[in-house]
Symmetry: C2
Subunit: 313 residues, 2 copies
């Protein structure tokens, strides 16, 4: 199996209560690619400027990511984001956004990228997402992410795009905003009624939930005493989730649940250091060790209650 | 085993987006008692006024709760609380509080209440909690709840009370406020360093977490499409948790984990109708059915990841 991701490639400047970095490799497609590369073969599609150099390509190549569909725009500059976090690390505050080459991005997929079994449409304009989805008609599994901006200004297009994918991966505020329904469970049922087989709701420090027609699965986040930089955690989650599924022969509920854990595992590593630093040096042993920790911290014995008096009867 | 709970007994007026009630039986000791009565023998200790009548006693007696230590103050009126909730049902807005007899409450426990194996100190002034704890020196398990008010105005007394209990049961905002530490995991470690063997952090719609010295356990809330009235959910959780433990011969980590589930099960029923209405008519079959649903919604297979290429090697 192989996987294609389409999204942003960026330089990020980030400040958190624990430090700051002026220029790091970032962007949804980058965080997603690095995470998914631990599980499957990855093609990344996105635009960069002339300031995107050998060092940046090297980070992706070190993880075996295929960068043939990174479009380098002559005379252009790479998407730049500057943001900061207060002690509430769940909320990113944007200080500057320079779209640069990302503003004119029209995704063009090579034959190899079109041949992927699994496709992830990271957070880009929903018309573009739909265009990409049409370029990969034979994908077995297609998922998308989005953001409040598109729900505000391109809702109809987004709904049309959602109809054409298998899995929607968003956060709880987005699920409520998208449906106008305050109760998350009702909001989830509504989104599923539009067509997707599954909805994943990311809840930051509270974990994540998987909704499908007949099932509900919810997991906590890995308990971290130090979160250094939450940037890219959502895309890293999606990378672990989709990457793991791309490695599986059977895409059933059980595989989706394990994929939720691998997504959470990858996200938990991502936030331990700035930018992509932690994921770059991650090993499969570390991933599996944390997967087992998730089992430990969610397991309980299924012993229904009986009053002693009732047992004695 | 038997259980004693000390706390408020109240009349509540509650308005939510789904309706309103002018006068319902409420209070932390009431919600706790009803929930715990499904698992063990319960003694409730708290003050009421002359307006607390046969109908109110009948609700407790119907569940077998021992009300001998309810102190009826001649000429007094019962604690009254009026509040409302917006669509964010996690936040209660207080519109009126009339402490009445609760303002002069000095808990006096009968021989029977002092003989309990399990003691719950619901949210009352921490000096009073400590006084009660000293009246039950042989309890095998003692837990307390508290609130932001006591953290603000009686922090030193509260810390002294916390040192003398086995389990602290609070919400995440209170854990952060109590320690001044924004990271919940660090905050939890700090509270455990003061003496308790376990800390439970209630997270409303996001579930609950159990911290102990060598273990972390986290569960989601039961997914409800309609939450009618969250009042008393926290005390109902504590009632299910402590009531279940009171029924168990061994108070180990495995029992605590199952108790977390039973607490969550009870809380999930509590919020389905106004006040105590849902819990009053609950059955053990319904409780066990929802316990099993928790297993369903948290279970995944522990299969570490191996790349196909690595397997082939």
């Amino acid at each position: 199996m192989s996987l294609t991701v389409v999204g942003s490639i960026a330089f990020d400047a980030v400040k958190t209560p624990f430090g700051e970095r002026e220029r790091m490799l970032g962007g949804s497609a980058v965080h997603f690619s690095l995470a998914s590369s631990f599980f499957t073969d990855v093609h990344v599609v996105g635009p960069v400027g002339e300031d995107f150099g050998e060092d940046e390509y090297a980070v992706l190549h070190a993880r075996g990511v295929n960068t043939d569909d990174i479009e380098r725009v002559p005379g252009g500059r790479t998407f730049f984001w500057r943001g900061h976090y207060e002690y509430d690390l769940n909320t990113a505050h944007t200080d500057d956004t320079q779209l640069n080459v990302f503003g004119d991005f029209r995704p063009k997929l090579s034959e190899a990228s079109r041949g992927a079994d699994v496709l992830f449409l990271a957070n880009i304009q929903p018309d573009l997402q739909r265009g990409v989805r049409e370029q990969v008609p034979n994908a077995e599994l297609v998922a998308l992410d989005t953001m409040n901006l598109w729900i505000d200004i391109a809702r109809d297009s987004l709904l049309q795009t959602i109809k054409g994918v298998d899995v929607v991966i968003i956060n709880d505020a987005e699920a409520r905003q998208l449906t106008g329904i305050p109760n998350l469970i009702k909001a989830a049922r509504t989104i599923l009624s539009w067509g997707p087989k599954a909805l994943i709701v990311k809840r930051g420090e509270y974990g994540a939930a998987l909704f499908s027609e007949n099932s509900y699965f919810a997991i906590p986040a890995y308990p971290l005493e130090s979160v250094f930089d939450p940037t890219g955690a959502g895309d890293t989650f999606a990378g672990g989730f989709m990457g793991y599924l791309s490695s599986q022969a059977k895409l059933d509920e059980a595989a989706m649940r394990r994929a939720m854990i691998f997504g959470s595992v990858m996200a938990s590593f991502n936030v331990e250091e700035f930018g992509t630093a932690r994921v770059q040096k991650l090993t499969h042993d570390e991933i599996n060790e944390r997967f087992r920790a998730f089992k430990q911290m969610t397991h309980f014995e299924e012993i229904p209650f009986q009053r002693t008096a009732e047992i004695a009867k």
